[in-house]
Structures are given as structure tokens and as C-alpha cells.
């Protein structure tokens, strides 16, 4: 499934997620639930700022894989890998494990689409008597 479909499924499955933006390692927006692109890009920049600050706060050289920030107004989730990430917001006090699970499922859905091998066009079987027709 493509990014837009994956995000549509995500917001349908997870009622806790208020907004989500899927983005590439270069910061390009791959899909968003927000109505305008400028805000989606702003969210990506802030998400990268959050990740950078989180890496600075990480002890030693531990590899950071996901972040959850809980504030009074709502929670922020960032999850992903070098290839693509997803930043999402929820209402206050979400079910953290469930939100992470839904976000990872969304990422896996997009990954599966990319990794799906292109099907070769089917060859028409030569039927005896075709030449005669």
C-alpha cells in the first residue's frame, strides 16, 4: 500500500492518533493526515529536532529507535529507521504500547509495498490450433 493509504488505515484503526506524518530520511513528506503541506513540513522539521535532542540526551552510544514525549496537551511519538520515519500526535495519556504498535504496522505496510516484486506479465500459453485460426 502507498503512504497515503497506510496513513488512512492508521487513523481508521487507531482512534487515539490525531495527526501523523510519514517522511523520508531526507526530510521529504511521503504522506500526511494534515490538510496542508506547510504544516506537514513543519512537523517533520520539529520531529527531526526532537530526535536530534533525544540522541544528545541518550546515554553513551545507544541507538535510539523510538521516542514518546508526553505533555499536558497531548503526546508525540516518533518511530522509524534510517529510511523513513513517522511522527504522530495523540490526545493526553494514550495507550503507549498500542500507539507504537499501530505506527510500526503502518511503516511495515509501506515497506511491504516497496519490497513487493513487480509481477512479470503473464505469458499466453500457446494453444494448439492457434495458428490455424
Amino acid at each position: 500500500m502507498d503512504a497515503a493509504q497506510a496513513l488512512a488505515d492508521l487513523t481508521e484503526i487507531s482512534s487515539q492518533i490525531r495527526a501523523a506524518v510519514l517522511y523520508g530520511d531526507d526530510g521529504s513528506v511521503l504522506g500526511s493526515t494534515l490538510p496542508d503541506d506547510a504544516r506537514a513540513k513543519q512537523l517533520v522539521e520539529l520531529s527531526n529536532d526532537l530526535l536530534a535532542a533525544a540522541r544528545d540526551a541518550a546515554p553513551g552510544d545507544a541507538e535510539l529507535v523510538q521516542v514518546e514525549a508526553a505533555t499536558e496537551a497531548g503526546s508525540v511519538f516518533v518511530v522509524g529507521d534510517e529510511k523513513r520515519r513517522i511522527v504522530a500526535t495523540t490526545d493526553p495519556e494514550p495507550t503507549v504500547g498500542l500507539v507504537f504498535y499501530d505506527l510500526k504496522s503502518c511503516l511495515r505496510g509501506v515497506d511491504a509495498e516497496e519490497e513487493k516484486p513487480k509481477r512479470a506479465p503473464r505469458r499466453r500459453k500457446a494453444v494448439e490450433g492457434d495458428d490455424a485460426a
Binding site: 490538510p35 496542508d36 546515554p59 545507544a62 523510538q66 514518546e68 505533555t71 508525540v76 500526535t89
Partner: protein, 71 residues
């Protein structure tokens, strides 16, 4: 009689105030940031930690930006 009524009133007021304060303390949401690492470990930074002081304003901006822009 009047003294007794005042004592009961004072007790009731104190009880109500105490209950309110207790509820506030219990239900007060603490801002925090949880960092999850590849080895399965997790670090939770409370709002009083210096690292969270840098992370939480960014998180608040993300929530505000998403909220203003969500359909």
C-alpha cells in the same frame, strides 16, 4: 450548639479541601520524555531533568502544530 455546628462545618470544609488537593496531586499529569533504544532499554526523562527541558518544548510545538493543522 453553635460551636458544634462551626466545628462540623470546619471539619467538612477541611475534608473537601483535602480531597480536592489529593485528587489534584494524584491526577496531575507529569510531562516526560521516554527514549527507547535498539537493545530494548528505555530511559524516562521527567520534566525536572535538564534533557527534558530541551525536549519538551519541541514536543509541545509538535502537538500545537498538529492540532492547528489537523482536519
Amino acid at each position: 450548639m453553635r460551636r458544634r455546628a462551626l466545628a462540623v462545618l470546619g471539619f467538612a470544609t477541611g475534608l473537601a479541601a483535602g480531597t480536592t488537593l489529593y485528587r489534584r496531586a494524584v491526577t496531575r499529569r507529569r510531562d516526560r520524555v521516554d527514549l527507547y533504544f535498539a537493545d530494548g532499554s528505555m530511559v524516562s526523562l521527567g520534566d525536572d531533568s535538564p534533557a527534558a527541558e530541551r525536549l519538551l518544548p519541541i514536543a509541545r510545538r509538535i502537538v500545537a502544530t498538529a492540532r492547528n493543522g489537523s482536519s
